[in-house]
Symmetry: D2
Subunit: 276 residues, 4 copies
C-alpha cells in the first residue's frame, strides 16, 4: 500500500497548491490513501465545511487538524456528520467529532487514522499516550487495521519522538504537524514504524509559519499587535511524507519526504513510480 | 568563502562522530570557517574546557551554546579566557563570557558570530531581537564583518523565522539549534541571508532528542522520573548546514544541509568540491 | 463538624512550627478533622515516611501533596502502605498511592479528601475537573460522605476558582495550595462550598516562597544558578483555613483563615471556642 | 504620608464601586496619594481615555496597568498625552507612554510610581529587575523621591517576592497585581519596604477572576470557547492596600489591606483616622 500525508494547509495559497497537485499525484503514483492536515485551511484558522469538501474532492481520504480545529465555529457542527474530519482524540469526553477512525483505502485496506495533540507548550488536553494506546487497543495493526497513521500535532520534538517510540511496531506512520516546518529526520524506527517529526506546512515559506511576515516580526520586536495575521500569498511549497506499507505486517518499508514548488528544495519519494 | 555549521553535539557518540569527521571535511572541501554548537557535548549537559579544546583541535573556529551552557559549572570560569566559546548574547549584562565575537577565517575574512536564545517556551532572557540588532550595529556586514552567522537557539519556529527575516540582508546565515531535529527548510531569504530553522543535532537519532529513549518515554507516560537522562550510544548522524558566501557582499549564494552517517538520510552540499 | 486545613509545610522551620501548634489547636478547639499539605516538608522537597509519621502523630488526619510529591523517592514506596498520604488524583492510571480517600473524623463523620493538581502553568496531568467529578460520583456529599475537602494544588487563580464553582454545593471546602502565599478571599460560594484560593505555606515569610531569599533573587537577576534552594530558617507563620460544617448537609456554615506567628498579621477563626 | 493602592478595576461593577468609594476614602482619611490599577477597567479589557479621566476625577493620582494595557487600542495614543497613565516599564524601548514617573502628592511629596511586568508564565518583556533598578537609579528614594511605589504585575509569587526583596529598603511599597485575588501576606520587609503579593481586584468575587463564571468554567471542562468573557455584575469588593510612610526615610511604618463590600471579609487599615 502507498500512503501520502500532507502537512497543514495554510490559507488559500497553500490549500490551492495542495489541492491542485493532489489528483495528479494520486493518479500518477497510484496512491492508496491520502491524509491532509487542514487546521489552517480557512484563511489560516480552522476549516469550513466547504473547504473540507474541496479537500475530499481533490482525492484526500481523511483530514486531520490540531489546536486550530474549532477556529471556524461551524466545525463543531459539521464534524458530527463528516466522519472523514478528525480532531485531536485527546479532547475531553463529550467533544464533538472523533479523533480516530477506520477508513477503507482504494486498495481495500483498512486504515486507522488518529489525530492527537501534544501537551508540551500547548493546551492541556487528556493524556496523548493513553489516548493513542486506547485507540490502538480498539483497532490493532495487523488485526483490525491494515495500516495505522498517527498525526501528532505537537510543538516539542521530544514529545513527538517519544510517541513515535511508544508505538513503534504498532503503527505504520507517526508524523508530526504544527510547527509548519518540514523536518529531515524521516526514518523507519527499529520496530518498523515510519517516523517524521514534522511534515511541514503547505504554504508560502517566505513568511512566519505561513503568515505574512510583517505583523509577526513587528510583534516580536514591539510586543504590541498592530494588525491581524494573514496567510502569506507567495508561491507555496507543498510538503508531505510518503510511505510504502508492507501489506502483510502493515509496517513501513520505505519513507521519504515530498516537497513541490515554492522556495524549499524539492523532494520526491524515490520509490514512487512517476518521475518528478 | 565556505562556511559549515554543525548542530548540537550530544554526548560522547555525537561529539566523537563530529570531531572525527571534521578534519577531513575541512581539508577536502577547503572550508574557511566552522562553527559547532556544543551545549550538549559533555554527557548531554554543557561543555568542559577539555572538550572545548577537542572541538577546536578538530578544526572548529567557534563553539556556540544555548540553555545548557552553564550545566558544567567550569564553563562560567573558562569562558572568560576562551574567546572562541560563545554563550547566548541575551543573558543579562554582567554574565561571564560573550555572545558575539569577530573571528578571522582561514581565508583572512572577518566573521561575526552570534549566539542568541529565543524566549518563546524558554527562559526569559533579554530581547533577542534588540540584542542581535546591537551586535549588528557594532559590526555591520560588508563594513566591519565579511560574514555574519547567527545561531538562534530557540524552540519555536515562529521566533526563528521572525529573526531570520529581521536580519535578512544583514547576515550571511541564520541557523536554529535546540530542537535536535534537522529541518528541511534551508533557503536564501529574499534579502540574501541563508536560513535554516534547525541544524539538527550530531547524535543518535534512535532516541528522544539524543537521549536514551527509555527514560524520557517512561516520563511522558508515568509523569514520574525513574532515572537520569543519558545520551544514546547508537550510531550518530552528523548534522549541519553549509553555506557559500559572496566575498563582496557577504551574503549567501548557496545553502545546503549536511548529514552523514547514522539513521537519517544522507545529505551532501552539491556545491562542495569533494565527492560524498 | 470542625475542620482545619494547613498549607504546605516548608522545611524544618515550617514543619516544626505547625506540628508544635497542632495538638493544642485540636484540643482547645475540639477540631474533628485536620488536613495538612506536606509536599515541601522534607527540606523543602517532598516528604519522607518519618516526617509523615510525625505529622500524623501531631494529630493530622490526612496529608496532601502536589508537584513535589515524589521529590523524596521513598514516597513512591511508602505511599502504598500509607493510606493517609494523598498524591494528586490526576496522575496517570497506575501511579502509586491514591488521590482521594474516605476517612473517619473524630466525631465519626466520614470525610472524603481529594488532592488534585491544576494544569495551567504546571505539568500536564489528567483533567482535574473530570478527576474530581469521578471522585465525587463515587462518594457523593450527603450520601457516602459527610464532608468533602478538595486541595487544589495549582498556580493560576482562574483554575482554582473555576474548580470551586464546578463543585459548589457538592463539596465542603475547596482550598488551594502551591503558591505558598495565603489569599484573603475566603468565602462561602452561593451553593454552600467554602472556598479559599490559597491556604499559604507554613514557613518563613521573609523568603522567596519559603526558601532562603538570596539564591532565588540572584537567579532572577543573573539567570544562572549559584547554589541550591534551602528552606529559610526565620520564624515561621503557620497558615491555614478553618471551616464549620453543617452536620446535615455537609456544606460550610463558616470559613476563616488561621495565621499564627512569624511576620504575617495573625488571624484566628472567630467561631473557634478557644481564645487566640 | 498616607498612600492607598487599589487593585485591578474589573469592568463596570468593579470600576463603579471603586470610583464611588474613593472620594470619601480620600477625604475621611486624608489620603495623600492614590494609585489604581486600571488594566481591566473597560469591560474587562484595557482602559479608554474616558474611563481614565473618570478614575482621575474620583481622586486617583496615577493609574497603572499590565498585560491588558493595549486591549483598547486608543491607549496607544492617549497614553502619550496622559502622563498619569503608566504601562509596564519593561516593554521594549520605543513603546508609547512610560512605565515610571514622578508625581507630586497632595502633601507636596514627590512620589515615584513604577509599573513593571513579571516574566514567569507571562509575555517575555525586558528584564523587570534591571528595569526597576534603572528607574530607582534615576530617582532614588530619600533623594529625588519621597516615596517609591512599584506595581508588580505578575503571575508567580516567587517573582513578586524576589522583586520585593530586591528593592527592600529602596522602595516604600511593592504591591502585586494580575491574579485578581487579594493575598494576606502584607508585611514590612526587613529593610523597610511594605510588601503585598497581590492587592486583589475591585470586582465581583462570585466569578472567575472577575468574569462571569459560566464561560470560563465551561472552557476548563470542554476546552472549547463557547462565548466571550464578560465581567461579572454581582456586588463587587473594593480591594487595596494602605501604607503609612515615614516622611524622613520614605520607608513604610505600617501596611494593611483594605476590603470593602461584596463577598470578601471586610478589612480596614487600623491606622486610618476614619472609622470603618
Ligand atoms: Fe498548523
Ligand atoms: Fe497547530
Ligand atoms: Fe541542545
Ligand atoms: Fe538547547
Ligand atoms: Fe508547595
Ligand atoms: Fe507545589
Ligand atoms: Fe488584571
Ligand atoms: Fe493582568
Amino acid at each position: 500500500m502507498r500512503l501520502l500525508f500532507l502537512g497543514d494547509l495554510v490559507g488559500r495559497a497553500g490549500r490551492t497548491a495542495a489541492l491542485e497537485a493532489l489528483p495528479q499525484l494520486i493518479e500518477d503514483n497510484r496512491l492508496d490513501f491520502v491524509i491532509v492536515n487542514g487546521e489552517n485551511a480557512a484563511r489560516g484558522f480552522g476549516i469550513t465545511e466547504e473547504i473540507m469538501q474541496d479537500v475530499l474532492d481533490a482525492g484526500a481520504d481523511v483530514v486531520t487538524t490540531g489546536n486550530h480545529v474549532w477556529d471556524q465555529r461551524e466545525a463543531l457542527v459539521f464534524i458530527e456528520r463528516q466522519e472523514r474530519l478528525l480532531r485531536p482524540l485527546n479532547f475531553p469526553a463529550g467533544t464533538p467529532g472523533r479523533g480516530a477512525n477506520l477508513f477503507t483505502a482504494r486498495n481495500g485496506a483498512r486504515v486507522l487514522v488518529m489525530n492527537v495533540m501534544g501537551r508540551i507548550f500547548m493546551e492541556s488536553l487528556d493524556d496523548p499516550f493513553a489516548g493513542v494506546e486506547a485507540a490502538l487497543d480498539a483497532c490493532p495493526l495487523g488485526d483490525v487495521a491494515d495500516a495505522v497513521v498517527i498525526d501528532v500535532h505537537a510543538e516539542a520534538t521530544s514529545e513527538k519522538q517519544a510517541l513515535g517510540h511508544f508505538v513503534d511496531g504498532r503503527a505504520t506512520l507517526v508524523v508530526g504537524t504544527h510547527t509548519h516546518v518540514p523536518t529531515a529526520d524521516h526514518q523507519i524506527l527499529p520496530g518498523g514504524t515510519a517516523y517524521l517529526s514534522d511534515a511541514g506546512m503547505c504554504g508560502d515559506y517566505d513568511s512566519v509559519i505561513g503568515m505574512d511576515k510583517e505583523e509577526p516580526v513587528s510583534r516580536f520586536i514591539r510586543k504590541i499587535p498592530s494588525g491581524r495575521f494573514q496567510p502569506a500569498q507567495g508561491t507555496p511549497t507543498v510538503c508531505g511524507v510518503a510511505v510504502e506499507v508492507d501489506d502483510t505486517s502493515g509496517l513501513a518499508t520505505a519513507v521519504a519526504p515530498l516537497r513541490i514548488g515554492g522556495r524549499l528544495s524539492p523532494a520526491w519519494p524515490p520509490f514512487w513510480p512517476a518521475a518528478q
